[in-house]
Structures are given as structure tokens and as C-alpha cells.
């Protein structure tokens, strides 16, 4: 079977998932992002790496924040950026996903940044685009959100330096979380010896332990001596369908409070992919506290997305392996 993300030379040609990527590629993305962080601090925040290229943000599911960070990243690389909110246009007219993509490709697209509610949708697109066109997964269903995973790794490396000595806890709605899955793959690939997932059984997918994580059902157990706490967003709709009784009860058991955080190492960092629900998964005093690195995550996210797009654009156009 062809590798869905690498070309015959082993270069990254699409970024669809962290799973299956070698450590060297992850490290290269993080190293490249290092050099782009300073671009954002300059007076002229642009480099010409993607000049003349067209990046299409294809969002089949709404997300102002992620779309904006991709837009900024592409613009800082001097690309032309076209934003398409497909919910409101083609899909509602019955056009198929592949027809939409074929039409946009005919407009000389060089890169598609795709968000879709169905797991695997970016794979389908990547299989059908021309060899010179690159696809970046900006979140597909419950499956993956690889740039979020990479920016989380960038953040952890920035504050903790060495992955091989860390304990990391991911807390909350693991079942529905593409961020959790991407973080788990990235952390295990980069050599983190202990990754824990913490939540009630209703929010943990069956067989999650096969992904190389330790399953904890309480914060007391899950946060003990960890270096990094990654809180996940809890969607309001999870209160329906008997997954949880109430947001209040979730907060009681799994909401990150200073008391619960005290179980972690004193220098532990607190992360959140945003947008946060204060008082549901995290208390304001923690979200705004000195251990929180939630805003640096956003800043790093732009540099990481620049790095991903620059690396993809530099791949040989020979197509997937």
C-alpha cells in the first residue's frame, strides 16, 4: 500500500496524521518552527517561501480560530489564501466532496487545508489530488488534528526540553477528541515514557490502552507527579446521550482546580487546545495561572503551521510513494 503522507523519497507530501510519521520528520517540523517564531516578532512578518502559491482553507466544519491561524501562517509565507466555508455553499447544494475538490484544483490550488466532520476525509482528498498538490489535515472527525499535536509538542519542548523524561496526562473527553489522538501519537513517537489518559469510562474509547497509554479514572491518580497536563474541551452536547450527567458533576471529578493540580509536579505546565470552557474543564485561576501555557500555544501554533506548509511545499512533486 502506498504511504498516504510520504513520497518515494520519504519526504512529507501531505500532513494527514501524526501516526506513521517517523520521529525525524516530527523533529524537523519542530526545528523549522523554531526559525519561524522569530518571523512573528519582526516588524515585517513575512518570508517569501510560498510566494505565488495558492492555499485553500477548506472548512467543511466551522472553526474561526484554527482557520485564522492557518490563514496567518500562509500569509506570513507570502501565499495567496482563499477561505472557503463549504457548509454554507457547495455541500448544501449536494455537490460531492471530491467534486468540490476537483473544482478548486482546477483553479490552480497548490495546497488544501481541510477540516471535516468525518474521520478520514482528508485521506480521500489526498488520494485524489494531483501529485504537486499538498493536503494538510486541520481536523477530521475524531481522528486527527496533527498541527495541533505538533504545536503541543513544540510547546512542551519549549518548556520542558527533553521528551524522554516526562509524564504527560491528557484529561477529559478522549473519545471524541482528535487532539488527544494526535497528541498520543506525537508523544509516544518523540519518546515520552508515560502518557496517561484521564476520564470517565464513557469518554474513553474502548481499547485506547492499545495506543500505548495508561488509563486513569481519577484525577488523583492521573495527575500524580506529571510534568504536563493537557486539558481537552468538553462539548456541551456530551450532556445528551447519557455520556455524562451534568457539566457540574464533570467539573467536580475532572475539572482542573488548583487542588487537583497540586498533585502534579510543582513546575508542571497546563495546556489546552482552546476554546476553553472555564468552570467546566478548567478553573479560571488555573487557566490564568502561572503554570498555564495556553496563550504561548496559540503563538507557537502559527510558527508550527508555517513550518508544516514550508516543508510540504519543498517536497518533490513526484507524488506519494
Amino acid at each position: 500500500m502506498n504511504h498516504p503522507q510520504l513520497n518515494a523519497k520519504g519526504e512529507l507530501t501531505h500532513l494527514l496524521s501524526i501516526e506513521g510519521l517517523p520521529k525525524a520528520i516530527l523533529t524537523r517540523i519542530l526545528d523549522t518552527a523554531d526559525s519561524f517564531v522569530s518571523v512573528g516578532e519582526r516588524e515585517v512578518k513575512k518570508v517569501p517561501l510560498l510566494r505565488g502559491k495558492s492555499v485553500f482553507n477548506l472548512f467543511f466544519e466551522n472553526s474561526t480560530r484554527t482557520r485564522t491561524t492557518f490563514e496567518i501562517a500562509a500569509k506570513r509565507l507570502s501565499a495567496d489564501v482563499i477561505n472557503l466555508n463549504i457548509n454554507a455553499s457547495s455541500a448544501s447544494k449536494g455537490e460531492s466532496l471530491l467534486d468540490t475538490v476537483a473544482n478548486l484544483e482546477a483553479m490552480q490550488a497548490d495546497m488544501f487545508v481541510v477540516r471535516h466532520a468525518s474521520s478520514g476525509a482528508p485521506y480521500l482528498i489526498a488520494q485524489h489530488v494531483a501529485p504537486h498538490v499538498h493536503v494538510v489535515n486541520a481536523g477530521d472527525g475524531r481522528h486527527a488534528h496533527p498541527t495541533q499535536g505538533l504545536l503541543d509538542m513544540y510547546t512542551i519542548r519549549h518548556f520542558k526540553k527533553d521528551f524522554t523524561q516526562l509524564r504527560v496526562a491528557i484529561v477529559g473527553d478522549i473519545l471524541h477528541s482528535r487532539v488527544a489522538r494526535s497528541d498520543i501519537h506525537a508523544l509516544t513517537t518523540l519518546g515520552v515514557p508515560e502518557v496517561r489518559v484521564v476520564g470517565p469510562r464513557t469518554l474513553l474509547p474502548a481499547h485506547i490502552e492499545d495506543m500505548g497509554v495508561k488509563v486513569c479514572y481519577t484525577m488523583e491518580e492521573g495527575l500524580r507527579d506529571v510534568d504536563v497536563v493537557i486539558m481537552l474541551r468538553l462539548q456541551n452536547e456530551r450532556m445528551k446521550g447519557a455520556l455524562l450527567p451534568s457539566a457540574q458533576e464533570f467539573y467536580k471529578n475532572y475539572g482542573l482546580t488548583p487542588e487537583k493540580l497540586a498533585r502534579a509536579k510543582p513546575d508542571a505546565i497546563v495546556m489546552h487546545p482552546g476554546p476553553m470552557n472555564r468552570g467546566v474543564e478548567i478553573e479560571s485561576s488555573v487557566a490564568d495561572g502561572k503554570q498555564a501555557v495556553i496563550l504561548p500555544q496559540v503563538t507557537f501554533g502559527i510558527a508550527v503551521r508555517m513550518a508544516v506548509m514550508a516543508i510540504l511545499a519543498s517536497a518533490d512533486a513526484g507524488g506519494a510513494a
Binding site: 460531492s96 474521520s119 480521500l124 472527525g141 475524531r142 481522528h143 492499545d210
Partner: protein, 431 residues
């Protein structure tokens, strides 16, 4: 070359003949006149063959009886037509096929059943036996006119892929069917547990972030069906089981004297959730491909007879409906033409004598229907397939007669292909 003569006398000479009823095989000649086998090994006095099939090096067996194939008529002709799927069945060595009632409109009244049978008769291919709907519109509220539907030609009553949620309706439907000795066919699945699930609840679904179908969904519904079957004494046939636990439950139920039979879809003998790969929609099937332990249990259950039959679960799907993200793609596999090679593959991998394995696609399913097909005897209906058990062929769009090319075996090489198919003494396929 295709043969167009209708009902000439046929001699099949020098083939290795399988007798699935007795699990034996022998090189023998077979003589057919009108619609029946008139001689095995011994040429009847005065027999003159209008047509001779040289079967040296080939295998001759009772034709395949398939308990579940969707012809997509009436209502879904854009996916496939009766003619194309009948031709696919004939090319696959299928001589009898049972179609589920989830057409549009649903097969819940005799006019529709008659129309379907007329359409099938007009088109050369297998004998088509419709299953009637167990409840009106398959809605699970009112029972159908089962006696009238039986007169129209229905051989059993089924809910297709839908469930009877109300246990009292299920109880009464089974009581009523039991009164007249009708067989009730259920695919067991608790829809509340399945919801939007598309993949087996296991490591693959966890990794790929695909909504999961727990084995519990099948097991709970099966336990309920077995309990109602025990209480009513109905003949229950459980369609397309997928889990190891189901095999164990059915083994115990049979030992316990419950009148139950069951089948498995042929692709479930070879595929697991691993075959989803990178969201390959061709592996999107209902019930989902499960884990390797489930696959092993299904294969073993088939060997020891807990599972009575292998069915094709044929479901041709339009290419557009598969070129979608995994969860949105329509489930289903085209399989009529793969029944034969995939059954041979299972038999070979289990070192099972072919005549014994063949029972699972001939006498086994015929027994489920309470019908006499699949027998190799003088006087029996001449439903036969002559096939080359050693012929390798590549599964690709050009090699399939079905309008559906939706199979996870696409691009793979399989072994075993029909050369001649005979239904009621008439050649329906020949190459």
C-alpha cells in the same frame, strides 16, 4: 461462447464430482434430462446428449445456494439491475438465491413478490426466492400476511437490516410464524448500541477515531432473539453473525434444543477491522469486519457445523456512494462472484475436504430453507456448477459482471472460477 439452447439433455463427462450431503468426491459422469439429474456414473438407457460438457480436470458440484443477495429491484436500479446481478450470480456458480425484503417498496405484499418473481423468471440466472417482510414496511409494528406471502412464493420472513424494537411485536410475529411453520430470519443488532457506529469496537476504531459498533450490540440482540425463539418454538435463522460470542451462544442454543440455524457472510471469513487500512470505504460493511479472534471463531464455527451456511451478503453499491469519507460511505460488498473462490480459500486454509466444505454453500443453506436443493442424486433437480478449482483470476472491474465493484478484494488474486452453471437443467452460464 454462450449456450442459448433451453433444456437440452446434457452430459457432464469426466469431472471430479462433489457430494456435499455425504462429504465424498469421485470422478464420475453426470447425465441431465429436462430439469433433473437422470444418471450419475451410469448413463441411462437410450440417453442421447444434445450437449456435452468435457469436465476433465474440473470439479462438478451442486450449485451454490445463497441466503442473502440484494438484486436492488425494485427501487434501487441505479445501483444495479436484476439482469446484471442475475448474470453475476450465474457467473459465480449460484443456482438459488434468496433476496431480503428491504427493497423499495418493501416486500410486504403479494403483488410485489409476484412481480419480482416474474421479473426474475424472465431473466436467465438463478432461481430467485424472495423473503417476505416480517412486519409491515419493516417498521416493526404490525405483522404481515405471512400465509398470503407464502402462497406468493416467499420462503421465509425477515426484517432485513432493521430491528423489531417492541419485544411484544417480535414475540407475536414469532408465535404467528411458528403456528404455520414459517422460518423467521433476523440479523441481530441492537440499534441503540450501534447508533452511528461504522467500525468494530477495537484498537482500529480507537486509532482512526471511527464511531464504534460494540460486539455487545449483536450479542444482546441475539440473546433476545434466542429467548423469544425458545419461548415460541419458531424456526429461527440468524443472519450474518460477526462475533466470537455469537458463535458460542449459538453453539449452546443448538445443544439446548432451540430450533436455530445461522449463517456468516463470506467476506467475514477473510477480513478484519485491520483491512480498513487508511479509511478504505470498500471495507465498510454491516456488520463491521471484526477482530482476528472473531474471524477465527467464525471459521471454526463453520467447520464444526455451528454455522450452517455461508452467504454472499451481496450488496452492489454505486461508485459515488463509496467515494466518500468512511463514515459517510454506503456499506456493502459485491460478492456473488466471490462466493466460490472465497469458500475454497477458507476450506483450503482449514485443510477441509472440499466436498465437506461445499455443504456450507449448498446443502447447509438448503436445509435452512427446509428445501431439497444441494443434493447430488438421481431424480434431484439439475442445479449444478462446473468449476475450475485451480484457476487463478484477478478481481477487478473488468472481471466482474455485477454493476457493483465495491469489494475489499479488488486488485487481489483469488483461485476458483465457474465454467458452467446449470439451473433446472438449463445452462445459465458458460465460458
Amino acid at each position: 461462447m454462450s449456450v442459448t439452447l433451453s433444456h437440452p439433455s446434457i452430459a457432464i463427462l469426466g469431472g471430479r464430482v462433489l457430494d456435499p450431503q455425504h462429504g465424498t468426491e469421485r470422478v464420475q459422469d453426470i447425465y441431465i434430462a429436462d430439469t433433473r439429474i437422470v444418471g450419475i456414473g451410469v448413463k441411462p438407457d437410450g440417453f442421447i446428449a444434445a450437449h456435452t460438457i468435457q469436465a476433465k480436470g474440473l470439479t462438478v458440484a451442486p450449485g451454490i445456494v445463497d441466503l442473502c443477495a440484494r438484486l436492488r429491484e425494485p427501487g434501487f436500479e441505479y445501483k444495479a439491475t436484476l439482469e446484471t446481478e442475475m448474470a453475476a450470480a450465474a457467473a459465480g456458480g449460484v443456482t438459488t438465491l434468496v433476496c431480503p425484503p428491504d427493497t423499495d417498496p418493501v416486500l410486504d405484499e403479494p403483488g410485489l413478490v409476484n412481480m419480482l418473481r416474474q421479473r426474475a423468471k424472465a431473466s436467465r440466472g438463478p432461481r430467485v426466492l424472495p423473503m417476505g417482510a416480517l412486519t409491515v414496511g419493516l417498521k416493526g409494528h404490525e405483522i404481515t400476511e405471512m400465509a398470503v406471502l407464502t402462497d406468493a412464493g416467499c420462503v421465509a420472513f425477515s426484517q432485513a437490516d432493521r430491528q423489531v424494537e417492541d419485544t411484544q411485536v417480535l414475540y407475536r410475529a414469532m408465535q404467528y410464524a411458528a403456528t404455520f411453520g414459517y422460518t423467521v430470519v433476523l440479523r441481530c443488532e441492537d440499534h441503540h448500541l450501534t447508533k452511528d457506529g461504522v467500525a468494530h469496537e477495537g484498537e482500529i476504531a480507537a486509532r482512526l477515531g471511527l464511531p464504534a459498533v460494540p460486539p455487545l450490540a449483536e450479542v444482546i440482540a441475539l440473546q433476545r432473539a434466542l429467548s423469544v425463539a425458545r419461548a415460541t418454538g419458531v424456526k429461527l435463522h440468524v443472519a450474518r453473525i460477526s462475533t466470537a460470542q455469537s458463535v458460542a451462544l449459538l453453539r449452546a442454543a443448538k445443544a439446548d434444543g432451540i430450533k436455530v440455524t445461522c449463517d456468516v457472510a463470506v467476506h467475514h471469513l477473510h477480513m478484519t477491522d485491520m483491512d480498513i487500512g487508511y479509511f478504505d470505504a470498500r471495507a465498510r460493511v454491516v456488520p463491521p469486519f471484526r477482530g482476528s479472534a472473531d474471524k477465527a471463531a467464525l471459521r471454526a464455527g463453520l467447520v464444526d457445523g455451528t454455522i450452517d451456511a455461508i452467504c454472499s451478503d451481496h450488496a452492489p453499491v454505486d461508485e459515488d456512494e463509496k467515494q466518500l469519507p468512511f463514515s459517510e460511505a454506503e456499506p456493502g460488498v459485491t460478492a456473488l462472484e466471490l462466493m466460490l473462490p472465497l469458500t475454497l480459500k477458507w476450506a483450503e486454509e482449514h485443510k477441509l475436504p472440499l466436498a465437506q466444505a461445499w455443504a456450507r454453500i449448498s446443502t447447509g443453506p438448503a436445509h435452512v430453507l427446509g428445501m431439497g436443493m444441494g443434493q447430488l442424486a438421481v431424480g434431484a433437480k439439475a442445479d449444478l456448477v462446473v468449476f475450475d478449482a485451480d484457476a487463478w483470476w484477478k478481481v477487478d472491474a473488468g472481471a466482474l459482471r455485477s454493476l457493483g465493484h465495491n469489494t475489499p478484494f479488488l486488485g487481489l488474486e483469488v483461485k476458483g472460477r465457474a465454467r458452467h452453471t446449470i439451473v433446472d437443467g438449463e445452462v445459465t452460464f458458460a465460458v
